[in-house]
């Protein structure tokens, strides 16, 4: 990025109109990927001078225990529903979860899910780290996930969406293929990095369950309806040129008993529609690069 510039120079502008056609395998029009956050939040993390970990004094009992619901209960509920309808996960992983609750990571791995890094903990932020520290976090992520799962991470979603101006250059230098931190498009885009190649895969804050439930205050039915409308639009537009729909999830939200039933209806709908290429993030990036090389 151009540090300090008004436009950070992350990518070239490319209008939605008139692009070359992207085609997904099997003639599908919309690549759908599900991105569960598998996270570990610390009860009493050290302070980062730029951001508090918890809105309340430690222990933030509701904040912590709500998120702990994920690993004890709701991951299993959410993952079973995804598997039942044929959706693999591409996991934004707090890599320390491999150490704390290996059952959850092993379960996701056994289901054939793909892992990318979401930092060490979701209670440790990138703000203020120097280059050596940021390299240590990236190297820790690569090593920890490889040791726990045998997988080499290909992507990055910054912990709690905290970045430095170096993050994208560094992950590309370490050979990672995609970032989930840029929300400018419904198709993949190549990012301008100092070395290597980095693709921005469409992620979404707007249809993230956190935004649905806690920014837009949707009921479970309204959120399910939102996802179906998002899919319908993207699948139709994808007849012109293939689109990407990401469904970012937090099991402690979507796996609550009042929400998982309506969410299951969404997965049923998308699976039955016939226009979705249900894929993992790395597969979408590979297909995109196979069609465009460095062109986009």
């Amino acid at each position: 990025m151009r540090e300090g510039a008004a436009d950070p120079g992350l990518y070239d502008f490319k209008a939605w109109r008139g692009r070359p056609k992207l085609a997904w395998p099997g003639g599908k029009t919309c690549a759908v990927w599900v991105a569960p956050n598998l996270e570990f939040y610390e009860l009493d993390p050290p302070a980062n001078p730029h951001r508090k970990s918890w809105p309340k004094p430690h222990p933030d009992v509701v904040g912590y225990s709500h998120r702990d619901h994920a690993n004890r209960v709701s991951h299993w509920r959410m993952a079973d529903v995804m598997s039942k309808h044929g959706f693999p996960g591409s996991v934004s992983l707090s890599v320390a979860l491999c150490d704390h609750i290996p059952e959850v990571v092993e379960d996701a791995n056994a289901r054939g899910w793909e892992f990318f890094s979401h930092g060490i903990y979701n209670t440790r932020y990138s703000y203020g780290v120097d280059e050596a520290q940021e390299r240590a976090i990236i190297e820790d992520s690569i090593r920890t996930v490889r040791d726990a799962t045998g997988q080499t991470i290909r992507g990055w979603l910054a912990p709690a969406l905290t970045h430095t101006p170096r993050t994208l250059d560094l992950i590309a230098e370490y050979g990672l293929d995609y970032t989930c931190d840029l929300y400018h498009d419904d198709q993949p885009t190549d990012v301008k990095v100092a070395s290597g190649q980095l693709t921005a895969i469409p992620y979404s804050l707007e249809v993230n369950d956190h935004y649905g439930f806690f920014i837009y205050n949707m009921s479970p039915r309204e959120y399910a309806d939102t996802l179906i409308r998002q899919f319908e639009r993207l699948a139709t537009e994808g007849e012109e040129s293939g689109t990407v729909m990401c469904i970012p999830l937090h099991s402690y939200l979507i796996g609550q008993p009042h929400r998982i039933g309506p969410f299951e209806e969404v997965l049923k709908h998308i699976a039955a529609d016939g226009r979705a290429w249900i894929a993992k993030a790395g597969e979408i990036v590979d297909s995109f690069r196979g069609q465009t090389g460095d062109a986009l």
């Binding site: 570990f40 610390e42 009860l43 009493d44 050290p46 980062n48 001078p49 309340k56 004094p57 430690h58 222990p59 009992v61 509701v62 912590y64 225990s65 709500h66 998120r67 702990d68 619901h69 690993n71 004890r72 209960v73 299993w76 509920r77 320390a96 150490d99 704390h100 609750i101 290996p102 059952e103 959850v104 060490i120 903990y121 440790r124 703000y127 203020g128 780290v129 120097d130 050596a132 520290q133 240590a136 976090i137 439930f213 205050n217 009921s219 479970p220 039915r221 609550q256 008993p257 009042h258 929400r259 998982i260 039933g261 309506p262």
Partner: protein
Amino acid sequence: MSLDPAYLEYPKRGRGMDHDYYPYSRFDTRPPVQWRDGKQVAIWPVISLEWFPITPSDEPFRAPGHMQTAYPDYRHYTAREYGTRVGLYRLLDAFEAIGAKISVATNSAIADRYPEIIEAIVGAGHEIVAHSTDMNGTIASGLPEDEECALIVQSLDTLERVSGSRPRGWLSIARSQSFNTAKLLADAGVDYMCDWVNDELPYRFATAAGDIVNIPLNHELSDRQIINVQQQSADSYVHQMQNAYAWLAGEADTHGGRMLPMHLTPYIMGLPYRMDAFEGLLRWFADQPGTWFARGDAILDSWAAQQ
């Protein structure tokens, strides 16, 4: 300038939780819990019965629902009292109509000020859960331990004196605890607390004063969260509770008994225009063959006998 190197040290990064309160436990590998008569879902109604002094305290924090305008905030003081004078009785009548016994998390100031309410609750067979002293009795780290201890003991002693029995359960205001709270509760003889929301069954919680059980009271399904915070209708609340019930009953068929908390606030759910929808929900629950309406202490005893 770089961040303090300690920020990249992780002394608690290892197997299990990053504290000693409870071990990790995944819900689908535990021995199944059986509720009485083979019921699938224990529905646990908890009414929060609160007295807000018109002189709010911000130490350690101002309670949710507390005064909001400059003094004297008649608007919120009296609107909360409406819940206590009127809304509470509507809720109690609704539960009586279906024969359900429930828990009422009660500020001890209610017992001091309105003993006839305690008599009505206890006389109907409901359970009193201790819920601090009044809505200035909030707890968080930084509250001196002796002050926190005094607050807990005063709440328990007052409720015991007025109700005739010592409460077995505790609910903190806004579920906010210090690192000392669980220990102080165990030391005061409390059998269970309701503050940690990480599960849908009870579990043991270790303290320096011995174990206490946490029975999670799902905060996302409270009327406050759905109606006040998320601004949804009573009808939407009803649909969400029905969805939750349906899902949990399905899980119970394969994984054992489940628990569905129903956390209610008299000045929120007890309003006239919401009551028909709420009573309809109670009748719907009562018609489901898998429903066991239960007090917190009954859930605790049933669960503990199977551990």
